[in-house]
Each structure stands twice: as structure tokens, then as C-alpha cells.
Symmetry: C2
Subunit: 342 residues, 2 copies
């Protein structure tokens, strides 16, 4: 029987699955970061091969094709080196690269048209049409955007605490949590040169570490949702993510929420899938913004939540080899993969 | 006659002036960055000595004392090394370090109570009381705040353009300006993987350079002030700066704008002093926010603009040596320094 390798190569971890044309998954393996942009080409390829070897149970097998889903798939990658790396595993066919966004979408749907919104460390929205990316919004990184992402939330939290400490912003329950997270004693009256010592220490600690570390504060905001400042941050994240989704849904017939409700909508990334607060707030924002409230169009928006892009990579590797992935194949991929991962 | 050296040590340039107790400035010199935090101790001290040597006309003189104004003055600095560095110039007394904020304030006023708002690359507000920093707000750096600063403006501009390019934000005249600044061709229809090629290039260029480089876009916003997006960015900068000033003015009797109008207010930094747009918008915001419109208190807010902290360093070195800096001494410092610098 034909077999394919489908790989979801992330910045910190890589997942590989061996799948057949009927959708049955025969093996699953994981390894470290497999993205050449963040890891370098050699270590990234090693991770892909390592996860694949585990998925093969350590034995080479006749593999028709390999599909690797990764961010930055538009970069020109030396495909022949991928090819050479997979040869010892039994690869007879080709290696193809697809974007992680497409793989995330197909983890939630086997349709070739739809929308995806991902908010993990970064944040990005995509419209899929004809099994390709038709429109992408945000995903512009931590300096230019990624609004509503884990990094964005963490930075907003840190900024809100910095502002609360010198009176520019409202007092917030986040202050105590952030200071505790950094091991800073909270002395409300200790000042040096006109500045609260706690604020001076917050500044020192934040600039000692790399900017991306601000993401560590993100979980804190969900523990104090009754706090005004925390609620405001969550609402602004949801608004930004809703705007990202609306931006990619332009060009689809009908307006606003109706436009989104009409297609499969996949949500991925920890901000949208761990806990329902942000996902629900995005759906509420979209529903409230529906520009045709009296149109009679059913605008119930029900996102499909996905953990990662490995199931979608399996869907993609079959589709790209001309195999029809219908609802039956799709559910076999989901079920057999879940069994392997449990 | 007694002589003192007053030095304003910035991150990229250093200014030194030789001043006597009557306020007459006898020599002036400049050098490169003199901040030990950003330059390292050795190069910073070299810059201080170099600017001072120029101020002395190359000849050692009997110097009663040296005052160095710099950011990060609260850091524990090896004063004995400063002392040793200035000895060959003729220093008989001590070297003392003060914060650049205090020096900026005294460049605009000889009073010992007042407010300062600085918006250059960073942004910070301070209340001065009893010739010391009584309260400081913001100045928390590019990740935590510095709202309304040159960096903040540049980042907002870049983010607005990134959002305009994928439909999350309004179209703006800034797009063409930012793309031209980066040498990116503006092809409104060229897409790769669902993304406008111009946006992909914007992303690549921005992450190739260090974050602080985003400040280069700041001047662009003032060239298209009739643009909605540009106007919104300027207004948000002014609101943030007004909030910073209001935060430090708490604790002074009376409310809002009246509280600020009652004391000397010094504005410094390129964002507030090069062009009047932001400074005027801050004053307008403060005046509009006056919480006692019917109180009959005169709330006219008239900021004093200063270029740097060198005049203030001269004021400070005299004050710290027990010399009364009255209006006469203060205007002599201003006038004789201006003559030396022209």
C-alpha cells in the first residue's frame, strides 16, 4: 500500500505522521524545532528526519512522498538536500514544502475553501481558496503587528503594570502577579530618584531578557478576568484578531460575520485554544459587528479548534498527490492520529 | 575667580561648559556619546574629558568642581575614576553625577519646583521639588512604554502601514512614504502566498535592522498631517505624553491643567521641540482635560522649550556648590552659552 510522510515543522517542536491514502495513520513521532529559519538548515533537517524515523518505527519503508509544513515556506529552500536527507528512510518520491497556515487549516477541515485564525506566539489570519492561500493578514511579527498574539498580550500586560506603577494607568491586579513572576518585592512606597523601586526593578528585569520573554506574562491575564485592566487587554486582543479575520474575509460574497459564518473557520494557537476566553471574545466581536443584522442570514460562527498542523499536513500530502480527502478519509486521519498520540 | 565644569553627557553626544559663579560661560566643547551605560565606561569618560578639554581651550585651569548630567545616574558609578580622569584638567574639587532629567529642567528654569516632559528617542515626565526628582513617570523604555517618543511614533507608523497593506487598517499616505524610505517598489497587486509583495518586503526589511531603527519613520508623520491615520498617531502620542505629565503632577495642589499651569513646565527632546505639532497637541489635550473649567483659575499652559541639558548642568553645578542661581545668573548662563555655541 502507498504511504506518505506528513510533517508539521514548528519553531520549537516537529511532528511527523505516516499516512496511507485511506487516511489511516500508521506511525507518529516528534522531535525538536524543525524550522530552518529559526534553527538553521542542518539542525532543522535533523529534526525532520528524527521525527520521521520515529513515525516509521525505526525501519525504512517505501514512501511515495513527503510534505513538510513550515512557516517561511515561501523562502527558497534547497529541496535537493531535503530529498537526500529522506532517502535513507525509503523515500521514492519527492519532498514538498507548504506553509504551516495551510496545514493548520486542514487540521480542522478537509474543504478547500475557508478561513483560519492562528494566535500563538504570533498572530495571523488566512483565507484559503482552491486549496491555496488566497489572502493573509497580519503575521507581521512582534514589531509590526501580531496583534492579539501571546507576545502582544504579554507586552500589553507588562506595559499596563509599568503604567499602573507610576500613575499613568489604572491600578490593576496584574501588578502583583507580574512582580511576583519576576521575584520583585512589592513595596508601595519605596522610591529612588522619584521612581518606585518596584518599577525600576521591573525595567531592569525586562531589558535583561530578550523581548520574546514578555510572553511569559500572558497566562496571568486569564487568572484575573474580573480586573478592569485585564478585561480591557483581552477585549483589545479579541478586537484585533477579529479585524485580522475580517481583513482576509474581504472578497467573499456578503458582509461581516455572515461572510465568515458561511465557510469553515479554523482557530489555532494557544491563545485561541487553551481556555475559551479569547476565542469566545473574537466570536462575540464578529457577531456584534455583523453589518446585516436584519438580513436573515444565519451568522452563527462556530470555529473548529486545532492543536497543531500535523493532521492538516496529512490531509495536504494526500491532496497534493491527487487523492480525494473526503469526510471519511478526513475522520480516519483524525481518529487514527488521535489513537497514535494518546 | 572660581570656575566649574558642567557636562551634559548623552548617548550619542556630550556637551561641556566652563561656568563661573556669576553665570558667565567661558568655554564650550562637544564630543561623542558620554553615557557609560550605552558606551562603556572607558569610551564614555574619554568623551567627557575631550569635551571638557575643548571647553577649557586646551589649557588646564583651577576647577572647583565638575557636574555630569546623564541618564542612569542612579547606577553606582566609580566616582574615583571620574575624579582621576579630570585631575589632569586642573580639577581641585569633586565630580558629582546628576540625572539628565534634572539638567533638562534647569535648562529652562532656575526655580527648584516644576515639571519637565522630554520626548526624544524615549519619553519621560518628571516633577521637580526642592531641586530633586520628586516623581518620574514613563521613561520605561521601548518595550514597556516611552509612549509618544520618537521610537513609539516610528513603530506606530510602521504598524499602521503594515495594517493598511493587508486591509486590517485604513489606507494611508504613510504607506508610500515608508515604502519609499525603505526602497520598496509599491506594486498594489503583486502577491505571493496570499500576501502583498510590498508587505512581505516591509517585514523582511524591518526585521533585518535593529528595532530602534523604526525611529527613522518618525519625521514622515509630520509631512502628511492631513492624513487621518497620521493625525490619529500624532493625537495618540500627544494623549500619552499628556497622561505622563498629569501622572507626575499628582500630589501638587489643585487639579488637572491648573496644577500644571501653576509651575514652570519645560519641554525637551526632538519630538516636542522640532516642529510645534506634538507640543501644541499636548498643551491642547491638557487644557481640554482641565477638570475645573469654571474654577476661574488661569490655566494657560506655556511650556519652555529646551534643546538639551547643558545650560541646566551649569545651573546645577552652581546650585550644588551653594551658589544662588537667580534670574540674573540664569539669563547670563543662557546668553553667554548661546554666544559660545553660535
Amino acid at each position: 500500500m502507498q504511504k506518505f510522510l506528513a510533517i508539521d515543522a514548528g519553531g520549537t517542536s516537529t511532528r511527523a505522521v505516516l499516512v496511507d491514502p485511506a487516511g489511516y495513520c500508521h506511525g507518529y513521532g516528534t522531535a525538536g524545532g524543525g524550522n530552518p529559519v529559526s534553527r538553521g538548515f542542518g539542525p532543522a533537517l535533523d529534526a525532520l528526519v528524527q521525527a520521521s524515523t520515529l513515525a516509521l518505527g525505526g525501519r525504512p519503508a517505501a514512501i511515495e512522498g513527503v510534505l513538510v509544513a513550515m512557516a517561511g515556506a515561501s523562502l527558497e529552500l534547497p529541496l535537493h538536500l531535503f530529498q537526500a536527507g529522506f532517502k535513507p528512510l525509503g523515500l521514492a518520491g519527492n519532498v514538498m514544502i507548504e506553509t504551516d497556515l495551510l496545514a493548520m487549516f486542514y487540521s480542522g477541515s478537509c474543504h478547500d475553501e475557508g478561513l483560519a485564525l492562528i494566535a500563538g506566539t504570533g498572530a495571523v489570519g488566512a483565507r484559503i481558496a482552491g486549496s491555496q492561500l488566497a489572502a493573509v493578514a497580519d503575521g507581521t511579527g512582534w514589531l509590526l503587528g501580531d496583534k492579539g498574539s501571546g507576545f502582544w498580550l504579554g507586552r500589553e500586560i507588562a506595559q499596563a503594570v509599568a503604567a499602573a506603577l507610576d500613575g499613568r494607568g489604572k491600578a490593576t491586579a496584574l501588578t502583583e502577579l507580574v512582580l511576583a513572576e519576576l521575584g520583585i518585592a512589592w513595596e508601595p512606597h519605596a522610591r529612588t530618584q522619584g521612581r518606585l523601586r518596584a518599577q525600576q526593578q521591573l525595567i531592569s528585569r525586562v531589558y535583561e531578557q530578550s523581548p520574546i520573554e514578555l510572553s511569559r506574562f500572558t497566562p496571568l491575564v486569564f487568572t484575573v478576568q474580573e480586573d478592569d485592566v485585564a478585561r480591557d487587554i483581552i477585549e483589545r486582543a479579541a478586537n484585533a484578531l477579529a479585524k485580522t479575520l475580517l481583513a482576509v474575509s474581504l472578497g467573499v460574497e456578503s458582509d461581516g460575520a455572515a461572510r465568515i459564518a458561511a465557510r469553515p473557520l479554523v482557530f489555532g494557537g494557544s491563545v485561541l485554544t487553551k481556555g475559551s476566553t479569547v476565542a469566545q471574545a473574537v466570536v462575540d466581536t464578529l457577531t456584534a459587528n455583523n453589518s446585516e443584522p436584519g438580513s436573515g442570514i444565519n451568522t452563527a460562527i462556530t470555529p473548529i479548534l486545532v492543536d497543531d498542523g500535523v493532521a492538516g499536513s496529512a490531509v495536504l500530502v494526500l491532496k497534493r498527490h491527487g487523492i480525494d480527502v473526503d469526510a471519511g478519509v478526513f475522520s480516519r486521519i483524525q481518529d487514527s492520529l488521535a489513537a497514535l498520540r494518546s
